[in-house]
Symmetry: C2
Subunit: 434 residues, 2 copies
């Protein structure tokens, strides 16, 4: 029986889940990989907390260097999280010739290109299925299953916290702050939810899958990012009236010479399967020129779903080691020579349909002024909806536009916001109608 020695760095939630599967499902994993996946070390500064696992003597240690310096260790699993320490240890592991598995999206999104380079130089595998979409096999699907496709676009709900909050707001009509508090109380949101609700976490994941989809390096910095904190129950209600749901989406589109890559709340029609993805669930649709639209759906976070994805990477690498086939699949899905820099279209150049809500004074002629300015910027209106009067003499005027350039919309809105009869900053939500 082949024996593969594994060392886990960081025994928090995900690390504990991985250790549990390796220990408790040793037989199952053996029957599927034909190898003993031996958990030799789990390194964590905290060796005292009871994690509900009976580690054998000498497995749980506090010094990560013991793992990295042990020549018997084949695979290092980084489940520390964060960036600084994780990066240093990851680089060191690769330089020591260890195959590396990580669930750390911030690490891969920010330093992935450097890690890929280091892995290539040391001829080892680097795997990160758990970094994006939890247990959904989005990385494997892009690198292996859709290999005969030119990928045309990816659209994903990749943050369970945001999706939980938006679902709550939609089902119960409660405001953002109340939904966030409930998410925190139920453990679906961190005490500091900034990275989730402002879209940063989703952007990390989008950066990773965009690189894999279009044969390019990882490019986090050019992704346009907006979060969900300004979404109101009123806009969700209007969206539903138009047969749409509002979701925080990760979107990338392939225009060959440029790509779009953006994270923001968007209205999607109920005919889009993503519109039915509720609560903390994640999903991603990938459109290929041969396959058309495919979708993966599942738990995007949590101890065991994430651990399941880490285990799939460990098994892949173990199968590679056993058959002498390390680096069998290129880390970014494409051989190095074929990876080209593709510029990201600036957000103001994107063309899309818009939902715009104005708070207008309840006076005659307002609609004509608004539509006149929009017309001047070449923005044509598809639907206008005016709701009953509100208490303070303002009425919400809602418009859906045909496709328009973001730049034109922003300029028109600045001009419209300057009108005396416009009482509040207009609300803009992009519409993804495909």
């Amino acid at each position: 029986m082949n024996k593969i020695n594994i060392g886990i760095l960081g025994c928090g939630i995900v690390g504990t889940g991985v250790a549990r599967i390796l220990i408790e499902k040793s037989d199952l994993l053996q029957s599927r990989t034909n190898a003993l996946l031996n958990l030799k070390y789990v390194a964590d500064l905290d060796t005292q907390t009871d994690r509900g696992i009976l580690f054998e003597q000498g497995v749980l240690i506090s010094d990560a260097d013991i793992v990295l310096n042990d020549p018997e260790i084949d695979i290092v699993v980084e489940t520390i999280g964060g960036q600084t320490a994780a990066k240093a240890l990851a680089i060191k592991a690769l330089e020591k010739g260890k195959h590396l598995v990580t669930a750390n999206k911030a690490l891969i999104a920010s330093f992935g290109n450097e890690l890929v380079k280091t892995a290539r130089k040391n001829n080892v595998d680097l795997a990160f299925e758990a970094s994006t979409g939890g247990c959904m096999p989005v990385i494997k699907t892009l690198r292996e299953s859709l290999i005969g496709n030119r990928i045309e676009s990816i659209t994903g709900i990749l943050n369970g916290t945001c999706n939980y909050i938006l679902t709550k707001m939609s089902k119960q009509g409660c405001p953002f702050e109340a939904a966030l508090k409930e998410a925190q109380a139920k453990g679906f949101a961190e005490a500091d939810p900034f990275l989730d609700i402002e879209g940063g976490d989703t952007a990390h994941k989008l950066a990773i899958i965009t690189a894999l989809a279009y044969c390019m390096n990882i490019n986090l910095k050019d992704i346009h990012v907006e979060g969900i904190s300004s979404i109101t129950p009123m806009d969700i209600e209007f969206a539903e009236g138009f047969g749409h749901a509002i979701k925080l989406l990760a979107i990338s589109k392939n225009h060959s010479d440029t790509i779009e890559a953006r994270v923001h709340p968007a209205m999607i029609p109920l005919s889009n399967p993503l519109s039915h993805v509720d609560g903390s669930m994640n999903a991603v649709t990938i459109t290929g020129d041969a396959t058309g639209q495919t979708m993966l759906y599942g738990h995007g976070a949590g101890m065991m779903p994430t651990a399941s994805a880490v285990i799939s990477d460990i098994a892949d690498i173990a199968r590679n080691i056993i058959s002498g086939a390390s680096r069998r699949v290129p880390i970014l899905g494409c051989r190095e020579a074929s990876i080209s820099p593709i510029p990201v279209l600036p957000i103001n150049q994107v063309e899309i349909c818009y939902y715009i809500r104005f708070s207008a004074a309840d006076q005659p002629g307002v609609l004509s002024k608004i539509s006149g300015i929009l017309g001047n910027y070449g923005i044509s209106i598809k639907t206008v909806h005016q709701k009953g009067r509100e208490s303070k003499g303002s009425v919400p005027v809602v418009m859906l536009t045909h496709r328009a350039k973001e730049q034109s919309v922003q300029k028109a809105l600045t001009e419209i916001a300057g009108l005396e009869s416009i009482l509040d900053k207009p609300v803009v939500i992009r519409i993804e109608d495909k």
Copy 2:
């Protein structure tokens, strides 16, 4: 540059799609596999029909044996369809030491165990991603991604024809025959639709993924199969009134010492993501003990989606050949020694909830008689719904039961059908409420 020589047997719809991708996307495939996937032969008795592809001189031939006897051929792609000729050629290809890729679910479901044995003996790969779920990577997900899970159940919509017909019936209230005719007119159903609408095609696919999920050999013969031809718009309407959709489902469940494996129309709640899978789309949910419920969704048939799945198998095998790692993943996902026979629970032993519709004479006391008989067989009723009178003096009486054993339900129904006040054979639809 590595060169992998490929021969396609059968240039119908799928074969043509595969040839097209290999020829038109040679560069893309090279950049991803680091190999030239060279289409050396396409063998088909018909070498005259214009397939819209410009084959190089000598590629399109009529004699399959030329492919099988050419020592340069690495991978044979079987896209002939059917069973007899396909099986003979598949066995011969494996015996000649060729890796084999097939899209043929009938072949794998019926003779898969023999083919697996032959592939093992000749130390070659056998791959069949396209056999189940078209472009959805369900085989790869089971064999590679969910490897750390005990698979608990699989539920799938795996036949686009049936799903198209049921969707039509639901959206337009039309009867089965009319929906079938429209499906045939639009090319979603074959001229002879028996294999689709009676569930046989779905059973082929279920047999394949059930073997992969639970580490067992392929067992088609013990799958219970019912089709959709007896479903009426009235039952769909009732289902919708209870917040359910009716779908033709492939279901398998893991009880460790036995499994369930059955194909039949079923009612599923709208909270089940499968209920929103409409038209000719396919989807499959896989529940693992670590991942919980995951779902794959996509086109289950059609030239290019199916070809995309075949290409993913070709690429996998090419990557294996290049890195000297053939047979890197066991064909059925489990090493031979770990594959055990697991008996399939007979359908009459299955416990489940039921929708039952009676056509009852519009007389007092009928409900009491029906519920009395159900009670005698230990079947408890959850909901009773009686619709307004119909023209001929009969009223539909609809009941949803709590969990009951199929055997008891069938016995009770036989007894109830004998009542004078019951005017027609009761309609029974199983409910999958998880």
